[in-house]
Symmetry: D2
Subunit: 417 residues, 4 copies
Amino acid sequence: MRPRLPRPGGVYIDMATPALAEIMDAAEVEKLYYTPVDVYSPVAPNPDAITRAAQIIAAAKKPAILLGKGAAQAQADDLVKELSETYKLPYLAMSMAKGLLPDNGPLSALSCRSTIMEQADVVIVIGARINWMLSFGRGKWNPDVKFVQLDVEPKEIDRNVPVAAPVVGDMNLALKALLAELPKYKMNIDPTWVPALQAEAKEKNAKFTARLQAAASASPMNHWTALSAIKPVMEANPDVILINEGANTLDDTRDTIDMVLPRHRVDCASWSIMGMGIGSTIGAAVATGKSVVAIEGDSAFGFSGMDFATICRYKLPCTVVIFNNGGIYNGIGVDPSGKNAPAPTTLDINARYDKLGDAFGATTYYVTTPDELSKALTEAIASKQPCLIDVQLAADSGKESGHIGYLNPAPLIDYTV
Amino acid sequence: MRPRLPRPGGVYIDMATPALAEIMDAAEVEKLYYTPVDVYSPVAPNPDAITRAAQIIAAAKKPAILLGKGAAQAQADDLVKELSETYKLPYLAMSMAKGLLPDNGPLSALSCRSTIMEQADVVIVIGARINWMLSFGRGKWNPDVKFVQLDVEPKEIDRNVPVAAPVVGDMNLALKALLAELPKYKMNIDPTWVPALQAEAKEKNAKFTARLQAAASASPMNHWTALSAIKPVMEANPDVILINEGANTLDDTRDTIDMVLPRHRVDCASWSIMGMGIGSTIGAAVATGKSVVAIEGDSAFGFSGMDFATICRYKLPCTVVIFNNGGIYNGIGVDPSGKNAPAPTTLDINARYDKLGDAFGATTYYVTTPDELSKALTEAIASKQPCLIDVQLAADSGKESGHIGYLNPAPLIDYTV
Amino acid sequence: MRPRLPRPGGVYIDMATPALAEIMDAAEVEKLYYTPVDVYSPVAPNPDAITRAAQIIAAAKKPAILLGKGAAQAQADDLVKELSETYKLPYLAMSMAKGLLPDNGPLSALSCRSTIMEQADVVIVIGARINWMLSFGRGKWNPDVKFVQLDVEPKEIDRNVPVAAPVVGDMNLALKALLAELPKYKMNIDPTWVPALQAEAKEKNAKFTARLQAAASASPMNHWTALSAIKPVMEANPDVILINEGANTLDDTRDTIDMVLPRHRVDCASWSIMGMGIGSTIGAAVATGKSVVAIEGDSAFGFSGMDFATICRYKLPCTVVIFNNGGIYNGIGVDPSGKNAPAPTTLDINARYDKLGDAFGATTYYVTTPDELSKALTEAIASKQPCLIDVQLAADSGKESGHIGYLNPAPLIDYTV
Amino acid sequence: MRPRLPRPGGVYIDMATPALAEIMDAAEVEKLYYTPVDVYSPVAPNPDAITRAAQIIAAAKKPAILLGKGAAQAQADDLVKELSETYKLPYLAMSMAKGLLPDNGPLSALSCRSTIMEQADVVIVIGARINWMLSFGRGKWNPDVKFVQLDVEPKEIDRNVPVAAPVVGDMNLALKALLAELPKYKMNIDPTWVPALQAEAKEKNAKFTARLQAAASASPMNHWTALSAIKPVMEANPDVILINEGANTLDDTRDTIDMVLPRHRVDCASWSIMGMGIGSTIGAAVATGKSVVAIEGDSAFGFSGMDFATICRYKLPCTVVIFNNGGIYNGIGVDPSGKNAPAPTTLDINARYDKLGDAFGATTYYVTTPDELSKALTEAIASKQPCLIDVQLAADSGKESGHIGYLNPAPLIDYTV
């Protein structure tokens, strides 16, 4: 359906105006609107930019693809896949690009992020911002890395770091042009590059699996215990959309739950804020008709938890899973004032979020073991009804996170004369 | 305690700076701050402005005082009282000024608002904005009314209507100067003015009491049933601070619950928004140490209800009373789309907000009769602990309110040429 | 030469910083800068947009090209020429696009502007804004006209009127794509369209020539007298850049002086302001090394006339011609206050701007006849030195202009209640 | 005459609306406006602030008054005089406050600015900003100085330096209150303070006079030569308003020409810009009806010299004196590019600004000796007609000025990680 917009230069309709139907007939109302020919007019990149990009890629010894949410939004899924598979280019996805290419595919370098930052000589950035989430392209990155950046927004080019091959334009047109250009060149990938990454990934994934297994028997549960129960349920339901919000809950869930379908993960991305979870859950369910699972830290849920009432009112197929460890980061903060008050970061380890679900008529669960959690989540997804699962964790599960203060400027300037 | 501020022209301390204690000793840190001599320097009004105001007041046949929250904030309680009592000036309070002079005092004209707007020839506006809450001083007002406006903010003068006697300055200094000037003049109040208002107030108050009594036996309860139970409890606890938010819940509570102490009522005033209730409840309790009762519409509570967890965590002496009629205005809205979905204004008449209180360990009540409500509120206030009362009303209690669209501009301009 | 920019994320160099050379060596300074790969990365339009545009053009009975300064700036001169000549499309140039295609060419419809607005069914807008200079595409325009708009800036599309075929992208790439697409379609131009325009142009041009000739003998001179003298001199010097500013001086000069080379005319365009003349004169001379003639109204010259000193100081090959009729519009305004003061729009008909030129050492002329003017301007251009010509007009030459008030909104709204 | 303003909440009159007279009768038009009761409602300072100020002043050993243009604008001339004379308080005037108290009075400490900054223990700042013109109250100032600041604007208090005794309110009311309070206290002025300042002033003034005399015979003239000729003429015409603008021209004229009447000097003050001269000249003449002399640097005149035409058109009694040394600071700058072009700071030492005056019919003078200048200026003032004097100085008169870069922040921060 194409939008109908107020006609430029036409009549200004104030909100206090009586309903149009009362003062003019349908044909007159129609004249106040128009349907634009093109809401989004894709533009193709400069052929010179494509040539430059192709030459740099072809010359790379250790290339990699870095996928951002812009790549996912562009729905250029097949073209991205063709680029990676044709040239055996390993890839790394930013959190909301996960699943555009499968997290568990043979070229996925998700667990080799540090290696790619330190060793890659050419990185093809597709629809990602080279912002603080990527250390601004500096710091840990190979100082000689060349960025080939495909983006629809010219302002992203050279924003934080000089870009060797900017490609500005519609993502589909850009990828098509690049795929048409690359066959003209001989690739020079170091034959040891991909195998080394694959070996590293295999080793890291094994370690991660062992870590999950070790946590699986903890009582009370910690974050990893809960995720060891959730992971197989989500893998069994790949088309469920995952919403994710919190501190440890965000970081650990992103690292644990592989995505295999594009546009199936929504989190705060680079610039959103705490509280985006429940609204995103509602939106995802309404927009797609699919089932949604939101995995929320308890503090994160506190920002917009009342909106769970909306999920219930409209009987949406949404399950909200709350990782309840009684606080921000964890529930063992100490009051710095010495007044025996709760620490500013401490919530209530005994809060029973399932009762909040009861208040609005949801099916609710209070779970204390991985088996209970696995069973509850399986049932909840299957029910396609509003559900809320309070996952009781240990108060000491989780640690302070987000230390990226070194990216901030730190002036200490004496203006006195 | 006086504030300590960063020294002007001094050192700029970035948030990323290491804790000051780590890089400088206490005496050095101290130099970065200063304590201002005067945070608020009251200014006195121009003597000419006082003379002008006094002359207009003295010439009035039908004068009245209109109190705004600025009058309450100025804490000029005794001076306001002296002005009203010395000259027998009837008064009207805007919602957050209620209690500055007692709502039930002999000169209170709270129930004669229309008469004052239509008949008063001089209105002494003390710390109130003549904004949309007062029809911008136009519309229903006597077209020849003269406003004497005392305000600390010069920009309020003539903002929406010309002011005959502006008095700009600190409220205490202004009232003192006015009280010192008025004895120089002979007053000319029409001797029938105050008695007529008092007769009207008596009649209106009797009608209101009868209305409350009639509603007291309704089952299920409606707004007036609930308020007939709440009113005597609040009168028995005059020092409890009342927070109030909603549509019908706001209007009806303001009309029913008299205030007898200044600064004991907090609502959205002229410019605040839905959601101000629970934060204000927490703030009032922490700032004053007094008990607080919040009377909330169910929709209003939905904006910030999660913050009830904070009340519980800090064990604040706050009782939240929710008027649960299952919707905005009421719970009987009809879905205009014909899809059998809830109407956009409809919530859940079966929601059990008391369970939300249970989730965080509060003492909770679910009440369906005025006796249960009276008992629950009395107990809750006495407990000085976090309490939540879900007051079950009929779904059809309440009506659409807030029709002031006639104050908006309504252009319908054809820009076409 | 490509620009060197401060490195993103690099060092912030304050103006108060000591010269870099004093604190770091050349290699260190070099690291603070980078040279961007692409300062302007041209993007190509969507092929679908090209198809849509070509179909609409091919279907046109009475098409026309409308050239804006964006077309001139894009330096797509040959492509524009090819489009017009291949398909025999008549063209109209906005003022700063004059000369991109020759004003006096066989397809120039410069004197048929009204006919094109009223009759054209498809207008190919190349780099022009459809803003107030074009009546926002409404008013006098054929109500069924379809705009095909080529622009590098997406925000120009549908800004004031719906556009039937938007083509967003780099002008050269867009024109190339359109020229490649059009041969696929059969054109449908009404065979009488161009001949009719040519006949109209011939008739109008003859009338205009007669008007100039009639004015040529007026004494004292009026605007047309002066222009009848200037026109052949400018035609004899087609590579001289023309700067033009004023009210009547702007309108009449634009109508009289044909341009045959692109980018040789600078005026206030759609959004610039009075006072742009002398700075533009300096800029044009410095940037191109060519000779420049500025034709200025006396009031316009007053905004920035002091900058003539800069022309003299740098000995630039610039001639400033001042149409001195002693006022804004003309010099016969009457003081509305009745105090025998100059009218607000009246300057001094006896002012001798040539003496201002003398003050700074320019060669100056004070001329009162077309012969003197012709001789002075010929000499001045030939000298390649700073010259100033005060052209003495009659005080009653010129009339009030710029009546486009009907384009402004005219609300008369009563907000009272 | 009191202003008539559009009535608040009334009818919005668009500029495109037909003249009101055409659509409504006079009585209707009148209703659209109102006359405010108080345009400026003076407020009196807090009595506590007055007490605090008086106590600090009374305790001072070495007090001084610092006058700003706010003091002059408040027209509290007699009160300022009474404060200084009653308590024998030496005073210093910022440039536009010069003449509020006479520059040449016995308590004037104009030539002892450094001593006051370094030694005064209490400074009564009346209507001046403690901004960059006063080194923000830091730097050279006695670190223990206490500022007593009288200002109508609360935001000026503590803006750049903590203020020991802020007095916010109308200047007249504040000075009256202070003068009423001070007699309650015993003053403690060090008896050597004023005599020491007077001795210093006498010595400095003698040196300055000698310097002027030494310059008087220079040929060609320099700035001091010209000022030695101007000073006695201005002293003989104390009621002429002096406008002053430039670099050396501003500094040297301010230091040389004493003012003895308030509000007779207009310059760029703290925040105005180059180019303020001619507009201020026109404004001063029109607003006061008095004669005006503008002393302008040649570069400064260049910013708005065309407006001299307005002086001529309205035959205003204004004389513009241009210190023509052929450049910014001076006319001997060297082209740093080595291309034999004028230096960026160099104008034309041979420019004849008097011819610019001739262009518009003024009486003009070109003077090369102090006698010619003295005679020309005397004649010009006496004529009460538009006059322009080009004062030919040596190209090497004047030096670079304005070095206050040490007040700017000087960060050199490496944001790289």
